[in-house]
Chain length 171, copies 2
C-alpha cells in the first residue's frame, strides 16, 4: 500500500481502516481474515451447496460451504475443515481454483477457492448448532436449481462455481 | 429483523451495526446503500467490463459497471447513470435480472442487477477522474478472457454475468 491505513474501529472479526485521501475524507475499508470456499463434487457428480440463516440479512441463503481460515491453518486445511463441519462430507483431494476478492470496493481480504474431488458423506449430520441444510445439486441441473432459488442464491457462490467450471474442474 | 440493531460506528458510506446474540458477543454487520450493477451488451454482442483501481485492495480489478443508488433515484435510473458515467455507453432498454446479496455473511445491502440491451457508445471517454478503462468482451470469448484475467477478475461480476445468462438475457 502506498498510504498508511489507520484502524478506527475493531471487532473480533474485522477492523475498519481509514486510508487517507488527498483533499478528501478518508476511504474506509474492512479488513477480515482470509477465508476458504469449496466447490465440492460428490462421487455422484453433484455439487454441494448449503442453505443457512444469515444474521446480517435476517434471511436464509443458498451458498457454497465456506469459512474463515484459522490462525496457523493453511487455506487448504481450512477448506477441508469447513467442508466437513458444514456438510459432513470429506473429499479425496483439494485443488486450488484461485485466490479472489468478493467485495473489492470495501473488503480487503482474499477468498481462496478450492475444488474438492470425490466428496463422500462421512458423518450423518453436520454440527447441529450450525443449523445448516445440505443441498446437493446435480451439475446438469445447476441452472434450473438457481432459477428455483432466485431469491436466496448467493451471487458470489455462482461466481465461484463458474470459476471452477472455467478452470476445467467441473463439466 | 427479530432483534434490534444498534449502530456502533458510522461513516458517510456505511454504518457498522451490532445485533445482540443470546449469551454471545454481538454480531456485527455493515449497512450500506443499495447498489446497481449492469450487464450491458453492445450492438456488436460484447459485454462491457471495466478495469479500475480499488483502493480497499490497492489493486486493479476487472468488474462490471456498478455503483450506489443515490437518494431519490430508482435502481434502474442508477444502473443507467452508472453505465454512462463509468463507460460512456447508453442503452436502448434495461431489464431487471434480480436483486441479490454479495457478502451475505457481513453486508446488509442489496445489489440490483440489470441487463442493458443494445448498448452504444455515446461519449468518447468516461469522466477522466474516475480512471476507468472500458473493456468490451465478446460473449463467445468470455471464458478465455476470464482465464487471461484470473488474478484481477471480480468473482461477483462473474456471478452477475452468469445470472443474466441463466435468466436468458445473454446467450
Amino acid at each position: 500500500m502506498k498510504t498508511a491505513a489507520r484502524t478506527v474501529f475493531k471487532t473480533d472479526w474485522f477492523t475498519v481502516d481509514a486510508l487517507p485521501q488527498m483533499g478528501q475524507k478518508p476511504y474506509y475499508r474492512l479488513t477480515c481474515n482470509d477465508s476458504a470456499v469449496v466447490v465440492a463434487q460428490t462421487v455422484k457428480g453433484e455439487v454441494i451447496f448449503i442453505r443457512q440463516f444469515r444474521q446480517a440479512l435476517g434471511k436464509f441463503k443458498l451458498e457454497l460451504p465456506a469459512g474463515e481460515i484459522n490462525p496457523g491453518e493453511s487455506p487448504k486445511e481450512a477448506a477441508r475443515r469447513e467442508l466437513l463441519e458444514e456438510t459432513g462430507y470429506n473429499c479425496r483431494s483439494l485443488h486450488l481454483v484461485g485466490r479472489f476478492h468478493v467485495s473489492p470496493d470495501r473488503i480487503n481480504s482474499s477468498v481462496y477457492c478450492f475444488f474438492a474431488k470425490e466428496a463422500r458423506k462421512m458423518k450423518a449430520n453436520p454440527r447441529a448448532d450450525l443449523e445448516i441444510r445440505v443441498v446437493p445439486i446435480p451439475a446438469g441441473r445447476f441452472a434450473q436449481r438457481i432459477r428455483d432459488s432466485w431469491e436466496s442464491i448467493s451471487v458470489s457462490s455462482v461466481g465461484f462455481y463458474q470459476m471452477a467450471k472455467i478452470k476445467g474442474f467441473l463439466q
